[in-house]
């Protein structure tokens, strides 16, 4: 099997050679080992060409080994479980993994689109802003073609089989990054008794220690890592999150971590075989202190054709060799402006690759590492640069020139070296993303040539390579410092801990080389890429500047620099350096760009967590819900509630059922579950005064035992909510609200009590859930209740309309209200919810002889519309006053109440405000469409805009009246009774309507009083 992996080194690496894993790329099968990433397995198999660039369709290979990878963007998996856009460098290999490249047609090796590269000069930065404009109508076709060529992977076609969850956590110290600095910091904090969470992006802790050949405390670094991890694991208040990427550092030290749960061993165990297992978990962490130790990113350098497959980051080459025992090339050249790449040369040599040369831009004889390289016989070319690369789908060689220190002069290459791998290091940039997200400032370090975290704005500190430390020694010491400082800030007693020792080689300073000069000037030379994924080049940045896009944000947006899936991790600093040069400024003068969450891309599903599908939002159910369901009632969604809409008998549709239910109520009796109404107990010495301020009517005049319809307004004078209220005692009221308004109204009342009128002694208690409410309506409702057995007289004299009584009904204590939303004789029964279902069943049983009809929200709407009763939210929309609704009779002149002053504003006094009226279609047959607009003349469309004078708010067929009825808001409507208007609905044909009173049924209101 190993023979099938031509570039797999015979020994070494953190792979498990006893566990070969089969996988495929673009249908071709390969074998890797457990512990591989998809990228390392591909390299072991000699596959380097894995992508095509966005605009120019140039062939691209694997460049990096982590989150900075711009090219190897894969579609992993198939069907519903497919995952678009994964960088191969971050995909843990698992058995049977199916991957596809995402660019290039017909294949990534042969891409017809590559012809774009020949037009590269036309396709400079921002070219699309300059063309595709004429003729105008063609843009949509251009656009369609452009869209087809963009994007990487596909969204799966079927819903996601995976489940996700959120997890809230609190800790004293969150350590982001489990490399050398993070491990020491976590250890220092945890040993001191702090609650610690250590999160690391990788599948195992150790970070750079897993990819290097160095020693810690005299042992291989990996052994030291294992020891620390074991100790941390044994501490009770230490949470370890490998595969946990810290995504965001938000305000008030709130951080999010995405933990991948369905990979590695878990993947082999399940591989979607156990649905319901969490695929990814979003940790929502509130930390007291945060230590950011996420290491750094190596930069590339800008030289001609620096994007050819086989040009890789030096650190990535080392990682593939040391961690994965995969050798990316056999004849290598190393190109660097700093010391770190020398280790790569040594790693290559150790892997028996031919290192043809180390090309070091810096003059002079080099330091300790250079000496080691030379000792191994590796030629070191000082003061030289790689200025061009040959080969298209694979590096074939490099041109090397002398470097005089000027990036913009033209040079002549003097040496050509054959090679198949070019390992490049342009220096290191600390991963300051989270520091910057947290609001921290950055300082440019002129010696180390990178942005370093400076002032922190929240409770964070940076450590290790992320804090600009370069050698392992320094990183370990810095981690210890950060851990100890966090412990001190928490006020804990610090535990004794010694800094682990490493034998780091001394390093010489980096040289400020960003753009390598070429044989022609910067605008004519072969492309020098800065952002590989978006094909942003040195020439593009210069063009942007020439065209006046001089701010770094303009340049980024104009060239798309940094907008790829790697978010500029590879190219942003180089881009800023080139921009600084073009502007004649320094890098810090150019500024930094904003670092936005998320640190690396995260699945939508992970962010959404478990609150999707059936758990998207609570379904609130009344105590009678089961009965309604069993009766086959379709549900109407009313906010979070599910309410029965209608109760169809066999063969009935909505209209049939509603007509029958309406007639039952009008002629005999019906019952409705009104439990969702908001219910508030209000009492206290000042309750009358309080309610006077809230409600528009004279609350104090209500006698004990009386009910009244009340409305409340917002301070803007608009109707906010309505409902029946009852005075239960001198200082005791029971209030009802609309279903949708229940929570808001209680909050609104509490807000006034607590913030504006704390001197009022009033207690409010919600009874919405305690009581279930059964409305029994219709001429037979009284007999029905009597039949059930009621311990109080129910006749008109003893229990008149709009009164409330405590009673026992069928032996159960209830509150009985003589109120009616249908205009019929009606009772509302309030009963403690645990007994509500029994009561409902008894009502139904007792009602059988009256052919009682359970009815739903639709019938309730028809019945109330026949009576001209409004529904807040249907007849009102936040712009309707009580005067508009004809409710002047409810507005007390004797007191102030909320919103009263607003009613006196000029606009509220206009006579042509929209007012509530009834409408009858002229033919008395047409049911007007709800939402139809009203116009004065039957004009045809075409002569727009047509002035509108109102709209239909409610419209139903009235079974008991035998014709349709509608409610509407009409400008100056009350004075227009008898006029003909025209309703325009979706059919567009104007329908003649007559303006009438909104009360269609029993206008004198006699039926409810019987």
């Amino acid at each position: 099997m190993a023979a099938a992996q031509p570039n797999r080194l015979p020994r070494g690496g953190r792979i498990d050679r006893s566990r070969p894993l089969k996988f495929s790329l673009d249908g071709k099968s390969y074998t890797g080992f457990a512990g591989d990433t998809l990228a390392s397995a591909l390299i072991a198999n000699g596959v380097l060409l894995v992508g095509r660039s966005f605009k120019l369709r140039r062939p691209r290979g694997i460049v990096g080994s982590g989150a900075e990878e711009p090219n190897a963007i894969m579609q992993v998996g198939e069907g519903a479980g497919a995952q678009p856009n994964l960088p191969a460098t971050r995909v843990e290999l698992r058995h049977g993994l199916v991957a596809h490249t995402t660019r290039g047609w017909p294949s990534v090796r042969f891409d017809i689109g590559a012809i774009s590269d020949s037009f590269g000069r036309i396709l400079g930065a921002g070219f699309y802003y300059k063309t595709f404009m004429y003729p105008r109508f063609l843009w949509k076709y251009y656009e369609r073609a452009i869209r087809l060529s963009t994007g990487f992977g596909h969204a799966p076609a079927a819903p996601d089989p995976d489940v996700y969850e959120h997890r809230n956590a609190h800790c004293d110290v969150l350590v982001a990054g489990g490399g050398p600095a993070g491990l020491v910091a976590a250890l220092a904090a945890a040993r001191s008794g702090a609650r610690v969470i250590l999160a690391d992006d990788g599948n195992e802790f150790g970070g750079s220690l897993l990819s290097c050949a160095e020693q810690v405390d005299g042992a291989p670094a990996a052994d030291w890592v294992a020891g620390v991890v074991a100790e941390l694991r044994g501490l009770p208040d230490c949470t370890l999150l490998p595969r946990g990427t810290v995504l965001g550092y938000h305000d008030h030290d709130f951080l999010t971590v995405a933990e991948r749960c369905d990979v590695g061993e878990a993947a082999d165990r399940q591989d979607h075989a156990r649905p319901g297992e969490t695929a990814e978990r979003l940790w929502r962490i509130r930390a007291k202190r945060v230590i950011l130790a996420q290491g750094g990113f190596e930069r590339s350098l800008a030289f001609c054709n620096n994007d050819r497959p086989g040009v890789m980051l030096a650190s990535a080459v080392s990682t593939y060799i040391n961690r994965f025992a995969a050798l990316p090339g056999r004849r290598a050249v190393v190109f660097t402006n700093n010391d770190s790449a020398y280790r790569t040369a040594l790693d290559l040599a150790g892997a028996r690759a031919a290192v043809e040369a180390i090309v070091d831009s810096r003059p002079g004889s080099g330091g300790e590492l250079a000496a080691r390289a030379q000792a191994q016989g590796i030629p070191v070319l000082h003061g030289r640069v790689v200025c061009d690369v040959t080969g298209k789908k694979r590096v074939r060689g490099v041109r090397i020139a002398e470097w005089g220190g000027d990036s913009w002069e033209t040079i002549k290459s003097t040496i050509y070296i054959d090679c198949d791998l070019l390992a490049v290091s342009g220096g290191w940039s600390p991963a300051v993303h989270l520091h910057a997200q947290a609001g921290g400032s950055l300082d440019w370090d002129e010696t180390r040539l990178c942005f370093l975290p400076a002032q922190a704005r929240q409770s964070h500190d940076s450590a290790g390579a992320g804090n600009g430390r370069q050698s392992l020694d320094e990183c370990l010491a810095d981690g210890l410092r950060a851990g100890a400082e966090a412990v001190a800030k928490l006020g804990l007693a610090p535990a004794a801990i010694e800094a682990p020792a490493a034998n780091s080689a001394g390093q010489l300073p980096i040289e400020a080389l960003w753009r390598v000069p070429a044989e022609r000037d910067a605008d004519r030379c072969p492309k020098q890429f800065i952002d590989f994924q978006n094909d942003a080049t040195v020439a593009d940045i210069r063009l942007a500047v020439r065209e006046g896009y001089r701010n770094v944000e303009h340049v980024k947006r104009y060239t798309a620099l940094g907008f790829g899936t790697d978010q500029g991790k590879l190219g942003n600093i180089n881009g800023m350096a080139v921009l600084a040069d073009a502007l004649g400024k320094t890098i810090p003068e150019v500024g930094t760009t904003t670092f936005r969450p998320v640190y690396t891309p995260v699945r939508f599903g992970t962010v959404a967590g478990e609150s999707v599908g059936g758990l998207y939002d609570p379904v609130r159910k009344t105590a009678l819900h089961e009965w309604h369901e069993a009766a086959g009632a379709p549900m109407e969604v009313v906010g979070q509630w599910h309410r029965p809409w209608y109760f169809p008998r066999e063969g009935e549709d909505l209209h049939g059922a509603v007509a029958r239910e309406c007639l039952a109520v009008r002629n005999s009796v019906g019952a409705m579950d009104a439990s969702t109404l908001g219910k508030i107990d209000a009492r206290g010495p000042d309750v009358v005064e309080f309610l006077e301020r809230i409600y528009t009517h004279n609350v104090g005049r209500m006698k004990v035992g009386r009910c009244a319809y009340g409305i409340m307004l917002g301070e803007d004078g608009m109707v906010m909510d309505d409902g029946v209220m009852a005075r239960l005692g001198e200082n005791h009221f029971y209030l009802t609200t609309t279903t949708g308004g229940a929570a808001n109204v209680l909050n609104w009342l509490e807000a006034w009590l607590q913030t504006e009128w704390p001197e009022l002694e009033v207690w409010l208690t919600s009874l919405t859930e305690h009581y279930s409410t059964i409305a029994v309506a219709g001429p037979n409702s009284r007999v029905l209740l009597e039949k059930l057995g009621c311990d109080i007289p129910l006749d008109k004299e003893n229990f008149p309309f709009l009164t409330v009584r405590n009673a026992k009904l069928a032996g159960m204590p209830v509150q009985l209200f003589r109120v009616s939303f249908s205009g019929e004789l009606a009772f509302e029964i309030n009963i403690a919810s645990q007994f509500a279902l029994d009561m409902w069943r008894m009502v139904m049983e007792a009602g059988r002889e009256f052919e009682i009809a359970p009815y739903g929200t639709e019938t309730m709407h028809v019945l109330r519309a026949e009576k001209g009763f409004i529904i807040v939210g249907q007849e009102t929309d936040g712009s309707v006053t009580p005067v508009d609704l004809g409710m002047n009779w409810l507005l007390s002149k004797e007191k102030d109440f909320l919103g009263k002053r607003s009613l006196a504003r000029p606009d509220c006094l206009q006579e042509d405000r929209k007012q509530l009226v009834g409408l009858l279609s002229a033919d008395r047959r047409t049911v007007l469409p709800e939402g139809a607009q009203l116009i004065e003349e039957a004009v045809r469309a075409g002569a727009t805009p047509v002035p509108m004078c109102g709209h239909v708010t409610s419209s139903y067929h009235s079974a008991c009246l035998g014709h349709p009825v509608a409610l509407a808001l009409v400008a100056g409507g009350r004075a227009r009774k008898g006029e003909t208007l025209f309703a325009v609905g979706p059919e567009r044909e104007p329908i003649a309507v007559e303006v009438v009173s909104p009360v269609f049924y029993d206008p004198k209101g006699e039926r409810q009083h019987v």
């Binding site: 969850e165 959120h166 997890r167 809230n168 956590a169 609190h170 609650r195 208040d237 319901g276 297992e277 969490t278 929502r284 509130r286 478990e610 609150s611 059936g614 758990l615 939002d617 609570p618 379904v619 609130r620 159910k621 009344t622 105590a623 509630w641 107990d681 009492r683 206290g684 010495p685 002694e761 207690w763 208690t765 919600s766 009874l767 919405t768 859930e769 305690h770 009581y771 279930s772 009963i831 403690a832 919810s833 645990q834 007994f835 509500a836």
Partner: protein
């Protein structure tokens, strides 16, 4: 949701049980009115917890809900009588006592993973040092408001929520307990 799903998770590391037969009273009074507090305590035979986010245990459980609001959990059969007794004893004070038995459902969550399950939907710090026996909190669990109380045994909690959210919460807890 089927009844079967309402049972505990298959691996039984978390048990979810509805507590049947519970009655609830809501009490509003101003704790600065020491006499009122005392009268209430005499009827209850236990302390009214005055420290925020704590509860007292005795014949009943009395939960602090807010600076002038408590929830008394008692036997369902006892609720009406207790409400009457409290009402009588506090008749001369400015208080509000409401029987809200119909509006609340209590569930018990126990088992070694119960804290983890709660942490999926609750943002308060549930570490036993921060939220131990005798402590309670009105807070959000997923998308419902709940009263959460730490039981006297480790990893056991009482969740009291509005009746209409019962199915939702059971569904959510069962889902969360599935791991």
């Amino acid at each position: 949701m089927s009844e079967a799903m309402a049972e505990s998770a298959p691996d039984a590391r978390v048990d979810i049980n509805e507590l049947p037969g519970r009655g609830f009273l809501n009490v509003r009074l101003d704790p600065r009115d020491k006499h009122a507090v005392k009268s209430a305590e005499q009827v209850l035979g236990q302390a009214m917890p005055l420290v925020a986010n704590t509860y007292s245990s005795g014949t009943h459980r009395v939960y602090w809900l807010g600076p002038d609001e408590w929830l008394i959990e008692t036997d369902a059969e006892n609720a009406a009588a207790l409400s009457g007794e409290l009402g009588e004893a506090l008749a001369d004070f400015n208080v509000a006592i409401n029987d809200v038995s119909g509006g609340h459902v209590a569930q018990r969550l126990s088992g070694p993973e119960s804290r983890t399950v709660l942490a999926k939907g609750c943002t308060i710090d549930l570490h036993p040092r921060e939220f131990g026996p005798g402590q309670c909190a009105r807070t959000a669990l997923a998308r419902a408001t709940v009263l959460l109380a730490a039981g006297s045994e480790p990893d056991s909690y009482t969740i009291i929520a509005a009746r209409s959210f019962t199915d939702y919460l059971r569904h959510w807890l069962t889902h969360a307990a599935k791991k």
